[in-house]
């Protein structure tokens, strides 16, 4: 049977080896050649949009790339689904948007702020998510047209 010493060697050895592989894979998958996010498209407006997204904890109700909360819709590809004017109206509204009986916080954003958030959504909508972008609900237009 395994001795305590061997058990410790398994622990230390396994940890070091898998950790090194993990670092290697991290470097590889974040390298420029493997980019799936169109890094060059991250404009200042996109960055400002991301900051607004964080400052208001939008992720506390919604999700993006499938991450966040489950109270409100996934927002990857939301611009394609809902269109810019509607999203802008929701973000700039002074009273809570209340679709089908569930309230969103009324942010009353300025037009510039709303534009930045939309720029962030547009960038996110173009990221290659290994197929998740086609699953995310409500269905992306793309998938609807494929089915019909």
């Amino acid at each position: 049977m395994l001795s305590k010493k061997q058990a410790r060697a398994l622990f230390l050895g396994g940890t070091v080896v898998t950790f090194l592989i993990f670092i290697g894979l991290t470097v590889f998958s974040l390298s420029k050649a493997q980019d799936q996010t169109n890094r060059e498209d991250i404009t200042e407006s996109v960055v400002r949009g991301k900051l607004i997204w964080e400052k208001n904890n939008c992720m506390g109700c919604h999700s993006i790339f499938g991450e966040g909360a489950y109270y409100a819709p996934e927002l990857t590809k939301v611009v394609e689904r809902r269109g810019e004017p509607l999203i802008k109206a929701i973000l700039m509204s002074e009273s809570p948007w209340n679709p089908k009986g569930r309230k969103m916080v009324a942010y009353g954003m300025t037009e510039e702020e709303a534009n930045d958030v939309i720029a962030f959504f547009k960038w996110a909508g173009n990221v290659d998510l290994n197929g998740f972008e086609r699953i995310v609900s409500p269905l992306a237009k793309e998938r609807l047209s494929n089915q019909n």
Partner: protein, 446 residues
Amino acid sequence: MKYKTQKIAYYFWALSILLLVLQITYGFIMGFARIGMEGLHEIIPFNTARATHTNLLVVWLLSGFMGAAYYIIPEEAQRDLVKPKLAFLQLISLALVGVTAIVGYHLNWWEGRKFLEIPRPLDWLVVVNVLLFLGLILVTLFTGKRKTTTALVLSMGLFFAALLYLPGMIQFDSQTMDSFFRWWVVHLWVEGVWELIMGGILSFLLIKLTGVDREVIEKWLYVIVGLTFLSGILGTGHHYYYIGVNKIWLIIGGIFSMLEPLAFMAMALFAVNMYRKGEKNHPNKIALYWTLGAAIISFIGAGLLGMAHTLPQVNLYTHGTLVTAMHGHLAFWGAYGMIVLAIMSYALPNLTGRKRYDTSGSRLAYWLSNIGMLGMTLAFGVAGVAQVYLERRYGMDFMDVQNEIKVHFAVLIILATLFATGITFYVIEFFKYGLPNDEALDMNLD
């Protein structure tokens, strides 16, 4: 207790208990919001309730772990804690940072990054606080008479948990990068270093409660934490499937995260076997219940329910749905909630000298909270599976689906009430023990 300074543990646990009660309150706020009762929307919108709920969870668990370390390390190292006054300072600062963060969430002061909502300026205070904690624990350990495997594994877990907090503080312009490194904190905590903390506490409890030889128990501890890292580090890949990084993670993450349940299975088998082998008939039965319960429920919640959606083919449809919430609840409860409640149940009689081992209140606490939580898991699960089919497979609109599954949240609230009743019994039992005192010195049954 054996050393006077172990009493500090009590105060960390009292804070822990308080935050647990608050956490549950915010859980109810969300539960009611989900069945259309959004009366608090103007003051506590859903995102505030959620950030508060999950952050209170993390802080009560951390405070529980810290209490466990202040209790276990002196006993294992066979010396009093160095500088106990500083430990109190650390407790107070922890409470202050926690309260500031929670109040901030109600005033729109946060950084919306799931689980890491604490704003960066406060992060630095967390870092200082944790450094102080680690300093006290490590100096005590390394100037002590013994350095046991149990103490080393526990301290290593705490040390790496602190280190892994740092990647979460880096600022990125890309959502993909943000998410990538957020998992270095969230995943590598719960499916990595926190398992070391859990393993250390579990091993301490089994040594005390079953009387099985330390050498045997600690050998298995190494096997368990070995399995944890072997699978858990590369298992991080199960969060990289669909965030905009290379497809290689679908293979790596899929294979290694499928192996992660092994560590939890080993933990469950280990605990049950040590219990069977043990000849000691320790009178603190309820502590034994919590200990075995933690090992078993964590295998179900983290191991089995984690495995259920960890393959990329499945996760493609379940990613970011209530299926995740189902797993999150039972995993956190079984692995970390229950182990913290186990060490408290074990230590309270020793700290206070009151041998209230097997009261009906403590048994009600155990059974009601566990049955309640299993029921809640089921309710989340049914809602989640329905959501996956209606929304992701058949393409129904998000809000139409939410209205379809509302009824499961009514069920959830009923079961959450059962759970909360159990916790209420636990809290009453906790405070019935009274304060820790020096008369309890050397009254341990061990």
